[in-house]
């Protein structure tokens, strides 16, 4: 059975010099390959500057790769024309790290989750309202908050709203770019439970980008470690966590502070 997403040798170069004619290039992605079976979660772990967010943008067809392919359900998304990519984009949605900047603070919760319908020209006005309320139910935002502005919501509620918006167009793949990183611990637990529930009820596939190995260990079937634009190690979570090979993997694991409740000591992997 083919994977939902297969990335093959993706390369992304950005112009790096100061002048427009400069030939200096920054290699953000240096031949990245990965695949995610439908319904599973791949955690992409790496530090800032490793290329994780660039990879997310290329997969979501928001940045054209310099070379390489992004196979989504057997179609090379990166090679499609703009019009065809527009048809594909609803299938791949993004949730970002900071809901305060990814949501318009002056829009109401209802407007925010309805926006994708408007952009894609779907449904009549009454239908949009009904579906928007159903989306709020899906992420456990009480309907009485529907008329509240985004800046009136708590951090956890904002992130739920961002997830609801991402689910509006019934995507198959959700790319979560550090979606839990800015949340308090207790809220992280609530949102990670929500994501697990949604995955199981809607059959979603997740590309879960994080720098936190503890969260990756908890949420993911597979882990891929990025370092300087390359995937240096990848495989099933158990394998990566029990016997990491690459130096980058080991150093990231060692830097993840977790503690075991008894006896209350700081543990690095």
């Amino acid at each position: 059975m083919q994977p939902l997403l297969r990335v093959e040798n993706l390369v992304k170069l950005y112009a790096a010099g100061r002048s427009a004619s400069s030939k200096d290039k920054l290699t953000a992605l240096d031949g990245v390959s990965l695949s995610i079976p439908s319904g599973e979660t791949l955690a992409l772990v790496g530090e800032s500057g490793s290329g994780k967010s660039t990879l997310a943008l290329c997969i979501a067809c928001l940045e054209p790769p310099t070379s390489g392919s992004v196979w989504f359900e057997g179609i090379d998304a990166a090679a499609l024309g703009e019009n065809q990519q527009c048809l594909l984009r609803p299938q791949i949605q993004l949730v970002f790290q900071d809901p305060a900047s990814s949501l318009n603070p002056r829009w109401t919760a209802l407007d925010i989750v309805s926006e994708p319908f408007l952009v894609q020209g779907r449904f009549t006005k009454p239908d949009r309202a009904v579906r928007a309320l159903q989306l709020l139910d899906l992420v456990a935002i009480p309907r009485k908050m529907a008329a509240r502005r985004a800046d009136e919501l708590s951090g956890g509620q904002k992130q739920r709203l961002a997830i609801a918006r991402a689910l509006a167009l019934e995507p198959k793949l959700l790319i979560l770019d550090e979606a839990l990183s800015a949340l308090d611990c207790s809220v992280q637990a609530q949102i990670s439970n929500l994501l697990l529930d949604l995955q199981s009820s809607l059959g979603l596939t997740y590309l879960f980008i994080t720098h936190d190995f503890a969260i990756a260990a908890h949420m993911a079937d597979q882990i891929a470690v990025m370092y300087q634009g390359r995937i240096v190690e990848s495989g099933p979570s158990e394998k990566i966590l029990s016997s990491p090979n690459h130096e980058a993997t080991r150093s990231l694991m060692a830097a993840t502070p977790r503690f075991i409740e008894t006896p209350g000591v700081l543990v690095h992997f």
Partner: protein
Amino acid sequence: MPLLEVKNLHVSYSARSGEVCPALAGVNFDLGPGEILGVLGESGSGKSTLAAALLRLLPSNGRIQKGLVLFEGKNLLEVSPQDLRKIRGGRIGLIFQEPSSSLHPTLQIGQQVSDVLAAHEYLARRALNEKTSQLLASVFPVDAERISRSYPHELSGGQRQRVLIAQAIACGPSLVVADEPTASLDPTTQKEILQLFGTLRQKLGLAMILITHNPALLAGLADRILVLYAGRVAEIGPAAKVLSSAQHPYTAALLRCLPTDFAEGQSARKTRLPVIPGEPPDLSLHDRGCQFEPRCTERMAVCQCDEPAVNAVGELHEVSCFKFAG
């Protein structure tokens, strides 16, 4: 004698409508010289208000209603503005969360560190430069000279945070207050900064108040932990005790939220984590009773009516909860 004694601190904010919202209520704690106190609290707990209130740095709509903040024997809430200015940066260093917005974008790093020294000490140019170099070398083991000549935008997040630390310790304070100092940093950098705090405590005998929402950061670094919930001290005690056998229902529930150690049980992967139901309270509603009661799995009838008093549950370990009322 404790370095810092906070007694019955009450802080509130006024909304434009005139409504008063209590942000801290009855906060008590001590800090000894060279001690690291971890203040553990989530959003809305009042932890940043506490950091600001200690040095009277609240915004214009914030008010310290009552309480004492005794530092080296002086009540910081009553000292003159001139004396307070000498204490801020001089005797108490401050490190805030966003290193990018705390540094001047168009001054070189060396200049920014010298400025802190110059504000508090009378030093001749050469002595000032030497001391600046030493400070930068203490936080940048390699490359201090190059960093000194750099601008903030040329540095990484972790490097900027080190500069803030250099500024905070510049005048040899006895206490540093750090509010979420590693929040925006990568794990490797975060680990380095926490290690740097440990080293500075050892070398300089520095006391620290380390404010964070992540309990894992405090394990192995803090001597004691104070848990804040809804502006009240829920629990305070030795770090190892609070983390391994938390007594307050909120602390215990918070620690249970953390993803479990993977090695302990592979079946823990992709299972639901225990959560604290609901949300932190809206303090402007002035609800009676224990603030955690609506979300507490161990609540009793009395919890709805009164605020719990402080009870000792062990050596230097106190909890505000009716479970332990005599």
